[in-house]
Amino acid sequence: MEEKKNIDVLVKFVTKQKQYAVPGVSVSVPADASNEDLNEIIKTYICQGSKIKAADVPTFDFIVEGQILRRLLDQHLQKLGKSFENVISIEYFERLPPPTPKESLNHDDWVSSVHSTEEWLLTGCYDNTLHIWDVKNLGRGRIKDAHKLKIPAHNAPVKAVTWAKTDSDVKTFISTSIDQSAYIWKWDSNTNTVDCVSRCCGHSQSVECVAVDQLKGLFVTGSWDTRLKVWAVDDKKQSTDIQRDKEEEGENKKSKGDKVPKTTPLLTMAGHSETVGGVAWTDVSEIASASWDHTIRIWDTDIGGIKTQIAGNCAFFCISWSPLNKTLITGCADNYIRLYDPRSSEGTLCQQRFASHTKWVSSVSWSSTNQFTFVSGGYDNTVKQWDARSPKAPMYDLIGHKKRVEAVDWSHSKYIISGSQDCTVKAYTAKN
């Protein structure tokens, strides 16, 4: 072992961040160099070459042979089965600063789902209610200031929520529940009033997940009854029908009570043999669904049928698709997060497997701005922030939840938000 320590490796430092570039000469580095050692070397180089002070140089992360260096250099190379004798090119980039705890929002029951926009945060709770929070007021003053509205929405626990149209003051969002239905809501942010647009009926069991497409015109729901259904966010034809209905019913309104108009699905897609755990739109007319029957299926809404199928070895609970790198990540029942590329037609199916969670991974979410980072929440009470190039170690563990994490969300680039069975929603600020 002592002889090993004397081994030197020739490395070449490369970077895409020009302000921290160093001369591209190969340097000999001890083989058992750690992350810190390499950081020191880079620091001295930068300080020699330019006027940047040593204190201002940030810490870097290093990519060796396509993976982020998280152990000693020789061990890393050994694990990847690479030779020590060639000149190793090491790419370095500024390390993402750790996210910081921001706020903890208490609820009355388990929190099943969260979704945020630039301004507003929507959460669904097991006490049949939806909550809207002001993102700007998170972590400032009292929690009450952040809380905008509580909506007693469903007859059973809420399972999934998502924002649909958020351009104007009147925003649309969708919530689904164990009561076999999904509701479309309209919320006026100025007057802080909410109106139920329609009730989507069709599923015969609990509606587990919902996703809105990029054009914000359609949304898809996946259910415990193994089916996927596609609905229109606001169908013009239907809305006129509704108006007519309202006029007709105007007189009998009091006797009937204000009944919410029902809508029916545009399309039903059957094929899974178990609960659909997660859905995501991957294109204008393409849906990826992850199911407990060990498959991910990609559907075409134009055809109304299945396009391709990816078979796995365990149940999938959730799925997330990134428009930046066009790949899917899924959370699995064997505690791994798996990365799939639906475009590849040769080689391996599963492109990468991320290991760190010690229990089921219940939710995953890609970052909306960075193509490499994503977050995941598991039943081991932790939320983890990952870099797609570091499969064996997450970048950061976000600790705080006392019970299983049910939902994570990173659609607001600055906030990582997670909901859990300990009846809280925790918000962390992420820095880019």
Binding site: R70, P98, G139, E346, T348, I399
Partner: protein
């Protein structure tokens, strides 16, 4: 009006249960050829009745009888409509031909009937394992048709498809390393693989020109083939998915290769190339096994299971690190497949066939396979062996000694590995093999794998390496050394892991709990961010035990399961008894302690304990003195007693 309802004759019992072939065809409105086709596709076969006279309704001769139920089941098959469509098409085509109406003929021809068999596959094999279990016949048929010579090719696409599917299947076996047994017989090459826990055996014909056999209706064979091709397509798809690979597999091509097509078709050239894989991701089961291997066990059955598993693992890595060179006279396809499936590397002469990877003068070749009596041994650094050595080694699951297989040597008998009957006659070869396997050191590939230094030495100093007799090395190699090396490997691995931990801990200390220091913002309680640590599988003892138990359960066959459960029960009883004993012992000890406290000696002990710190010696002496006195008095008393007893006895004697 009571009484039983009379059933018409022939509407009940055996006579009703069976129908004749003619009746069935009439019922289904099919001609004999289509009926046969349908029966093959649906897996319906004639049945032997219990009472033939009754079943045939007293008719003479022996008729083909089908179950009425089966025929009724066939009636709902949508593929019958395809047959009818085809019949109509044929008729229309004939009609157009007779009229010499070319336009109509063309239009009729364009109307394609595609007999889709997918639903039949799903119906006959509801689960994937069912299909794998039934894979023997499909594979054998496809391998046979893949070998058919050109003049016999009835339909080009079928032969092409079967060729492709078989190559894909062989690639799967190579990638999964699941080949278990090989046997060469007159019929052909028997292969046995373990696929998803099912043993699949198939036969590949010898690479000789096949003539059309007499008495074989190729039309029937073709129907089977059509069905099997569809089945094998589905099976291959699932098998590749289970390996985490995309299905139409691609072969890695090298730049200097003569053929540039990536299509699978040419058997040998593709077999010798690895499949395209972007990343190696191992599955979990393997890890659990390794984890269990480290524990030591004493239970014999479990030990046996472990041994079996070790052997399996060793077999799949049998030729790892070995480099083979095949002579022109050998069967390239079979040898390449077999060697690759056990982890070896293969090549042959460049001019002989495409797909060779290295040349004959490569110094690292360990074995050259030749099948002729006299070979001028050009290279002393390698063994020249006959092909049978490869097959026998695989069946023996060890590298057999090469001496018996040198070119020109009279070979030991090629014993079938499929015969496992232990009560029957065991040929001497097998006996010897068993002895070798149990007692003598097991030869492993590791002694052939030379370090880089050695290779370099060889390059510089060819003569020296040539002088050494490879056989001597082989024999000198000691088993104990081999195990020592293994142990060393294990230790090193552990060290590495420890090193990892240390490195990570240091990192953690630096960056643990970064809490923001801002005055304006409220500090949030009970939340923190930590640098993510390296993943290491942590399992508690209970989980380990559970996993081990499950594994053991899986490993046992149902027959042995009962025995195993009995054993377990006994073990439990023994444990309970032991616990009871231990408990009673504790109770006893407690009682004794209490008694001691009450007795005199106990008091003395207590006294001594109290006096620690004071002049213990004096007290001890005192006590010793007292004890002595007491003992003396006791002895006196005893003596007195004895004297008294003796006196009494004397008195008694005197009296008597």
């Amino acid at each position: 009006m009571g009484g039983t309802v009379k059933v018409k004759k022939g509407m009940k019992g055996e006579a009703y249960k069976y129908v004749t072939r003619t009746y069935a065809m009439k019922k289904l409105q099919l001609n004999p050829a289509d009926f046969r086709r349908l029966c093959i596709l649906k897996g319906v076969y004639p049945q032997e009745p219990k009472n033939r006279v009754k079943a045939q309704r007293g008719k003479h001769g022996i008729k083909l009888l089908y179950l009425r139920k089966d025929i009724r089941f066939l009636m709902h098959e949508p593929i019958i409509w395809k047959f009818r469509d085809r019949k109509i098409k044929r008729r229309r085509l004939l009609h157009a031909e007779r009229k010499d109406d070319r336009d109509k003929r063309r239009s009729v021809r364009q109307f394609e009937i595609d007999p889709n068999l997918d639903h039949i596959i799903l119906e006959r094999y509801p689960t994937f394992i069912d299909a794998v279990r039934d894979l023997d016949d499909p594979l054998t048929t496809c391998f046979l048709f893949a070998k058919l010579c050109k003049s016999l090719r009835r339909k080009q696409t079928l032969v092409h498809m079967s060729n492709m599917l078989t190559v894909e299947f062989m690639h799967y076996v190579i990638a999964a390393r699941c080949l278990k047994k090989v046997f060469i017989s007159v019929k052909g090459y028997y292969y046995q693989a373990d696929i998803m826990g099912q043993t699949v055996t198939w036969i590949v014909p010898h690479p000789l020109a096949l003539l059309k056999p007499r008495g074989v209706n190729l039309k029937i064979m073709r129907t089977f083939l059509e069905f099997y091709i569809v089945l094998l397509g589905f099976v291959n798809y699932r098998l590749y998915q289970s390996l985490n690979l995309q299905y139409p597999p691609r072969i890695i091509q090298e730049a200097g290769d003569g053929k540039s097509s990536t299509e699978i078709g040419d058997l040998i050239s593709t077999l010798n190339r690895p499949l395209v894989k972007t990343k190696e991701i191992q599955e979990d089961e393997v890890q659990i096994d390794e984890h269990l291997m480290q524990e030591d066990d004493t239970d014999e059955t479990i030990l046996e299971v472990k041994r079996e598993r070790d052997m399996d693992a060793r077999q799949s890595k049998l030729f790892e690190g070995l480099k083979f060179f095949l002579g022109r006279e050998t069967n390239l396809e079979s040898l390449t497949f077999v060697i690759k499936a056990c982890g070896g590397m293969v090549s042959w002469d460049k001019t002989f066939n495409c797909g060779s990877t290295y040349q004959e003068d490569d110094q690292i070749i360990t074995h050259q396979i030749v099948d002729r009596p006299n070979v001028t041994r050009k290279h002393l650094s390698r063994y020249y062996v006959q092909p049978q050595w490869v097959y026998d080694s695989i069946n023996a699951r060890t590298l057999l000694p090469v001496q018996d297989y040198f070119p020109g040597a009279s070979l030991p008998a090629h014993v079938s590995p499929f015969d496992t009957g232990e009560d029957r006659y065991i040929p001497p070869e097998k006996q010897r093999l068993n002895a070798l396997r149990s007692g003598k050191p097991i030869q492993d590939a590791s002694n052939f794998v030379r370090s880089a230094e050695e290779e370099e030495l060889d390059r510089f100093d060819d003569v020296q390496s040539d002088d050494e007799d490879p056989l001597e090395q082989y024999q000198d190699y000691d088993e104990s050394e081999y195990y020592k090396e293994l142990d060393d490997d294990y230790e090193e691995d552990e060290d590495d892991e420890k090193g990892n931990d240390d490195g990570e801990k240091k990192e953690d200390e630096d960056e643990e709990f970064e809490i923001p220091e801002r005055v304006n913002e409220r500090r949030v309680r009970n939340m923190a961010v930590q640098r993510g640590s390296l993943f290491k599988k942590e399992t508690t003892k209970e989980e380990d035990q559970l996993a081990e138990l499950n594994l053991r359960k899986l490993r046992f066959k149902t027959k042995e399961k009962r025995f195993y459960e009995k054993l377990k029960r006994k073990e439990k009883q023994a444990d309970a008894a032991r616990e009871r004993l231990a408990y009673s012992r504790i109770l006893m000890e407690k009682e004794i302690a209490q008694k001691e406290a009450t007795t005199r000696e106990g008091k003395e002990k207590h006294f001594i304990n109290e006096l620690i710190g004071e002049d213990i010696k004096q007290k001890k002496e005192m006590l010793a003195k007292r004890k002595k006195e007491r003992m003396a008095s006791k002895a006196k008393l005893k003596k007195m007693d004895r004297k008294q007893i003796k006196a009494e006895e004397r008195k008694k004697k005197q009296k008597s």
